[in-house]
Subunit: 312 residues, 2 copies
């Protein structure tokens, strides 16, 4: 067992953690990031990022992720692949289990993000970011005067459908069973249905996403056991969000009802020395700009916590 205690460990290596690492390492705080899957997080698998400030013509998600990584590494951040499965404490020290091995740290930043729930159908992964989307704020504006298909029937599906009406020429809303959203949202959607801008299709199971040679997307689906198809320019899927916080079960860290981490204004959780930033945090906007801002704020709080420790 390694008895060394690291100054700070960050779980995840998306924009929030990479930004925090730029700040901590630039101040000579020894910093290790553990990433399970993709350095750069959701940003890395986004085709084009149009609204991250500083890039007037947009930037490829992978390029941005790469630049964030380079910047953190330039100041000395150690980025390792590793799966964190347990977070517990030993007095003031936080103890993580990383790939089965214990890692001890004075401070921890939880920045594991959230994932969009997927339909799990053929073509969905293939056209991700190039026709298939999960974030209307991020990608809606690419579909000015275009046709869209929205999949989902809950609050977020209705809310984002209403939002997308400001761009799309027409929206087919595919609902698996019936609409399960608040009355307010149903009421707000009604005028768009009345005007013909939105067409609601109930009892529709989506089966496959394909693209034609002219880049028109086709959603193959089943309605009342009959096959149906929808031609469209893009598909937005809003069937839920999965915060990556399963590993916090038993940690004593307070989550909200959907599993996002609760924090105070310094982005500290209920466990002193453990912070959270980005899409995993309650209040997250699923925006790179916000994640980056929270990463910087969390890093300053981590520095302050470590300084406080030294004084004791």
């Amino acid at each position: 067992m390694n008895n060394d205690i690291k100054d700070t460990v960050m779980i995840g290596a998306g924009p929030a953690a990479l930004t925090a690492a730029v700040y901590t390492t630039r101040e000579d705080i020894d910093t290790t990031l553990y990433e399970k899957l993709t350095i750069g997080g959701l940003a890395a698998i986004t085709d084009k990022v149009d609204n991250y400030p500083g890039f007037p013509d947009g930037i490829e998600g992978l390029t941005l992720a790469d630049q964030l990584q380079k910047q953190a590494e330039r100041f000395g951040a150690k980025i390792e692949f590793g799966d964190v499965t347990v977070l517990t404490t030993d007095g003031d020290v936080k103890v993580l289990t990383v790939d089965g091995q214990p890692v001890r740290a004075r401070t921890v930043l939880i920045a594991t993000g959230s994932d969009y729930k997927k339909l799990g159908i053929p073509g969905e992964a293939e056209y991700y970011g190039r026709g298939v989307h999960y974030c209307a704020t991020c990608d809606g504006a690419f579909y000015r005067d275009k046709r869209l298909v929205v999949v989902g029937g809950g609050n977020s599906a209705l809310q984002e459908t209403i939002f997308l009406t400001r761009f799309a020429s027409h929206i087919d809303l595919l609902v698996r069973s019936t609409i399960k959203a608040s009355e307010v949202l149903e009421h707000d959607l009604q005028p768009y249905i009345d005007s013909g801008k939105v067409t609601v299709h109930l009892g529709v199971t989506t089966d496959e996403i394909t693209a034609q040679a002219d880049q028109t997307m086709v959603v193959k689906a089943t309605q009342d056991t009959k096959p149906v198809t929808f031609e469209t320019d893009g598909i937005f899927v809003f069937i839920g969000l999965i915060p990556n916080t399963q590993f916090l079960a038993g940690s004593g860290i307070e989550l909200d009802q959907v599993g996002l981490v609760n924090t105070n204004e310094h982005l500290e959780t209920n466990l002193p020395g453990v912070f959270a930033a980005g899409d995993v945090r309650h209040g997250a906007t699923m925006q790179i700009a916000s994640a980056v801002g929270e990463g910087a704020t969390a890093a300053l709080a981590i520095r302050e916590y470590l300084d406080e420790l030294k004084r004791q």
Copy 2:
């Protein structure tokens, strides 16, 4: 009098407002920014920005400001020069006085930032960002193993001096009269004084900043009526912050004790429809990354507020 009511008006055109404008205009929300002085705010007058995420080798402040402006304008933001002197309300409508003329808006983003208090001595402006600094988190790391002069004697001066010891080889702390800081901070500073890393000079008035041909900076000062000089590599001035909120006097908007705007977790002030983001907000970190994050978050809250208005 112009009776048109704008959807959203942003006061200031620094990173927070420019980011918010990228978001609102990208969603076709009519957006006007009024800037009194410098588009890009403090970022625009920063020599090199090393810790704004996405630029691994750093970026010139002016270049970053320019790119933020281009990005906001690309989506249709209107950036105008204008001095906002009054913010008041007429029912739900917010009424600004801009260069003496009334401007009406449904929502307002206060993003006027804060300014660092200046010494007001010769050479200070000339070497700003190239030897003279006001933010240790931003620029401290440029002074690894270098000599520094710190000017100030309050809490922030002591706190930042302690922080800068992690980079500097030696720090001369110039205090105008005596140290006026918390006992905790005085206690924390003591070991650095004992070890000779920090030398405190009391009763020192700084008079002028110059540079020698070899780039060594020289601080000319007066101590007990006698002229003294300090050779150094850089000067950090920590004598206070001035939030740009004087124009909010009489607006009813709640400020904290130093004049920063209080907001809730959606960055909304106590006046519905009026939001604040960036360095003008209570809790501000004086970091571009944080300002940008708050700009995005505020824009989403503005959208939601406007959608709510439409429903009524």
